[in-house]
Amino acid sequence: MDWQAVQDKARGAQVYFHAWGGDPKINDFIAYVGQLASDRFGVTLTHVKLAATSDAVARVQAEQAAGKTGGGAVDLIWTNGENFAAMKRAGLLYGPFATSLPNWRFVDTAGKPSTINDFTLPTEGFESPWAMAQLVFEHDSAKLATPPLTIAALADWAKANPGRFTYPQPPDYLGLTFLKQVLYAMLPDPAALQVPVDAAYDLAPLWSFLDALHPNLWRQAKAFPANEPALGQLLADGETTISFAFNPGRASAEIAAGNLADTVRTFVLIGGTIGNASYVAIPFDASAPEGAQIVANLLLEPEVQARAQDAAVLGFQTVLNLAALPDADRVRFDTLQRGPATLSPAELGPTLLEPHASWMTRIAEDWVKRYGVAP
């Protein structure tokens, strides 16, 4: 179907976008995209605010089990990593559609390979990227002027300052991302992370590192924050001094919103930190797949991408290749204020690829076995 036909068919469509609804900033941003969709394409966007993305995946799965092939409840879903892998494996996805979107030509697939590889799984056009994420660490510069720049230095700092650092409890994805970052520092050959993990692979270095680190963590590792927002709240409350997030612009955006002290700054580790992309996908039985594509394309619009990258809005990094943009659009990015806590692209340093999803599963299972039940 050519794009004009998609647009014609989409007019008047009602698109239900299932996306995590835990952050008012993101909710406002989706509302803004919905306004554009309605003004420009006559598409009504409804944000179904989820507490967990898997609620939507489970719904599509149930519809498949009930033999539905259309008229599904979900039209568009914010996904990545394991959710995408599970849906692709089970044939729950519509497409490929992403590479046919008009704005696809601006996507920086060469410079940002995680726009087409989701946790090493090739996306093959079954999901469309809309934001880059990279692990960044945050510290309160009023309490700690020079933060530790390696995993080993971080452990030393925690030993000298017990109780002021922690990570979300695995299998939370951010907690696992931290463990994968540790793994990058521990493994003699990080390339092993790009292929499925060998069942016999010995993770002992990771565990002995954690065994030594845990007594120096917040609450002596007798409790962990549940997820990224809970971790962020600890930094805001002054319970922790060093924190981390998957959005390089989070600290600036939170400072702008008045939620975080303006002395908080971000930093990255020597050698780089893990990065990935957020995507949108369309379920196989979506009621309005054309309308959903309109929204996916809109999310790649330079104007929309620039707004997402604005520190006062979301601070999400763009998936686009700025060099490929027309001048008028590139200027939108050049004039953006980065915010007091956001690093420049050069300072952000290299992005490490997400390990193959099997590593995440393995680490999560072993972590729960080792630490999931306090002695």
């Binding site: 179904v48 507490a51 959710n83 309490k143 109780g163 729960v368």
Partner: protein, 520 residues
């Protein structure tokens, strides 16, 4: 009608659960997770019942204030109440802030495990704070006139206040309170939102772990979740058995107490003091918890150890206003429909049971409360899919399934306790059964009816999972929005939504109270 949805969901659980039991038994956290469901559940219920006894029996002076707080405390959703309590008692919480640094010397929050403690004390405390108001409200709905009469008889027999209440009044109240108490026990054993915010994490209480398995992105642990649900079901059964056994024990003790002839005047002093302390503690934690949420909803930056925010603004409220209005309308419409239908069904069932009580109906009605929601709802949603029920209708039906038990539980006691001699007199005067019901029995029960309706509205407005799953996400209510936002742990926005969630049920309770005082 009630059995069907639960059966549909349960069939699903048994099918996928049985096969995964072995895998679940391999999980080393199972014994502790099970204990963390059982012990805080039983402790919280026992404590709540004791506190109700203490407060009703000794009527501390602070009760007058406490009574006004009951409705908002009950109406506040569990997640918001948990966050409110967490903000009070956390090392970086309000109490620590007010006392720091001048009294404690803390310039940064101390590294203390006041929340998420391994024994589940914080969780138990949260449950007690949330469930005692519910039980008190139901108990107060039972009508105070008989209570007062019995209390006076005991007093003229020379009994002290506490002893007289315990021996003469309580045995009349408790049987009517039993079903609500059991509902509290089941809720306390299976709570997910309170368990997640206040409970321990290594391991989580079983119900929390089940919901985490359900929502894991790889969907690889759905079978494990179903097996967990089966174990949870058995645990709830065990909890109920233990409770019934302790009821029997308590009954014996009361009998022995009555036979001993002790008047217990010495008890009134210390117990009165205790009751006063408890009531004041409730008033303080209730007010401070609500005030903390309200303050956060308008707070600018608020770093430790400041006792108050650096600035206040209405940004959160003004940004949320359009959403709050539309979702409130949906919530209220659903609550209205579900509550009216539940009242009608309850009256039909109760009227139909005549003299003897029908245990089968009672069991069926309580079923949705005993089977953990996370367990049978996905199965129910799957079962409904091929029928293509409109989302709003499906959600309304699901709400009815959950509202009905609470309405039934709070109405059954007073309905049965109605003096049948009234009916006999009316019959001799030539009135038919329908006329007796409509013109005599229901008007006399206007108080409990209003209270049951208010509880129904509160339950409906607070429902999350049924709304999400049966509506396929297409029915947005205050609570679906609030829970999604609560997953971001943003105290400001949770405060705003939590208060809004509390406002409507509180209003319903206020109306119920007016009806009650006007009609009794």
């Amino acid at each position: 009608m009630l059995g069907l949805p639960v059966a549909a969901g349960l069939g699903f659980v048994f099918r996928s659960g049985i096969g995964n039991l072995a895998q679940l038994l391999d999980w080393p956290g199972l014994p502790r997770a099970a204990m963390l469901s059982l012990v805080p559940g039983l402790m919280a219920t026992a404590t709540s019942v004791t506190l109700v006894l203490l407060i009703l029996g000794l009527r501390p002076r602070a009760f007058a204030v406490l009574e006004r707080l009951l409705a908002p405390m009950l109406a506040l959703p569990h997640a918001a109440a948990a966050l409110g309590l967490a903000f009070l008692i956390a090392p970086s919480g309000w109490i620590a802030r007010v006392l720091s640094p001048w009294a404690t010397g803390w310039t940064a929050p101390p590294d203390l495990l006041t929340l998420n403690d391994p024994c589940g004390m914080a969780l138990t405390l949260g449950l007690v704070l949330k469930e005692t108001p519910f039980l008190l409200l139901v108990a107060l709905g039972l009508g105070t006139r008989t209570m007062e009469r019995r209390r006076m008889v005991a007093a003229t027999l020379g009994y002290g206040r506490a002893m007289g209440f315990l021996l003469a009044v309580w045995p009349g109240i408790y049987p009517q309170l039993r079903l609500p108490v059991l509902a509290v026990l089941v809720y306390a054993m299976t709570t997910v939102d309170m368990g997640l915010i206040l409970g321990p994490g290594l391991p989580h209480p079983l119900a929390v772990q089940i919901s985490l398995w359900m929502t894991e992105p790889s969907l690889a642990h759905q079978g494990l979740a179903a097996a967990g649900a089966l174990v949870q079901l058995a645990l709830v059964g065990l909890g109920l058995l233990i409770w019934r056994a302790s009821e029997a024990l308590g009954h014996r003790l009361l009998q022995a107490g009555a036979q001993s002839g002790l008047r217990g005047h010495g008890l009134d002093g210390p117990l009165g003091l205790l009751a006063e302390t408890v009531a004041v503690a409730f008033v303080l934690s209730g007010t401070l918890g609500l005030a903390g949420l309200a303050l956060w909803s308008v707070a600018g930056p608020w770093p430790f150890p400041r006792g108050l925010p650096q600035s206040v603004s209405l940004t959160v409220w003004s940004r949320a206003a359009p959403d709050l209005i539309t979702t409130s309308a949906t919530s209220l419409a659903l609550a209205g429909v579900a509550t009216l239908a539940a009242l009608a069904l309850t009256l039909v069932a109760l009227q139909g049971e005549g003299q003897g009580r029908n245990r089968r109906i009672e069991g069926l009605v309580a079923l949705p409360l005993i089977v953990p929601q996370v367990v049978f709802l996905p199965g129910l949603a799957t079962a409904l899919l091929p029928l293509s029920v409109p989302p709003l209708l499906a959600v309304a039906l699901a709400h009815l399934v959950f509202v009905l038990p609470y309405v039934f539980l709070s109405l059954a006691g007073p309905f049965r306790a109605w003096d049948q001699r009234m009916g006999a007199v009316a019959t001799t005067l030539g009135a038919g059964p329908l006329r007796i019901l409509l013109r005599l029995r229901l008007p006399m029960l206007a108080g409990p009816l209003a209270a049951a309706a208010a509880i129904g509205v509160a339950v409906s407005i607070g429902l999350y999972l049924p709304t999400l799953l049966l509506g396929g996400g297409r029915v947005a209510t205050l609570t679906t929005e609030a829970v999604a936002l609560a997953s971001g742990a943003n105290r400001r926005i949770v405060g705003a939504y939590g208060l809004m969630q509390a406002v409507w049920p509180a209003l319903a309770f206020a109306l119920a109270r007016r009806a009650q005082t006007r009609l009794t």
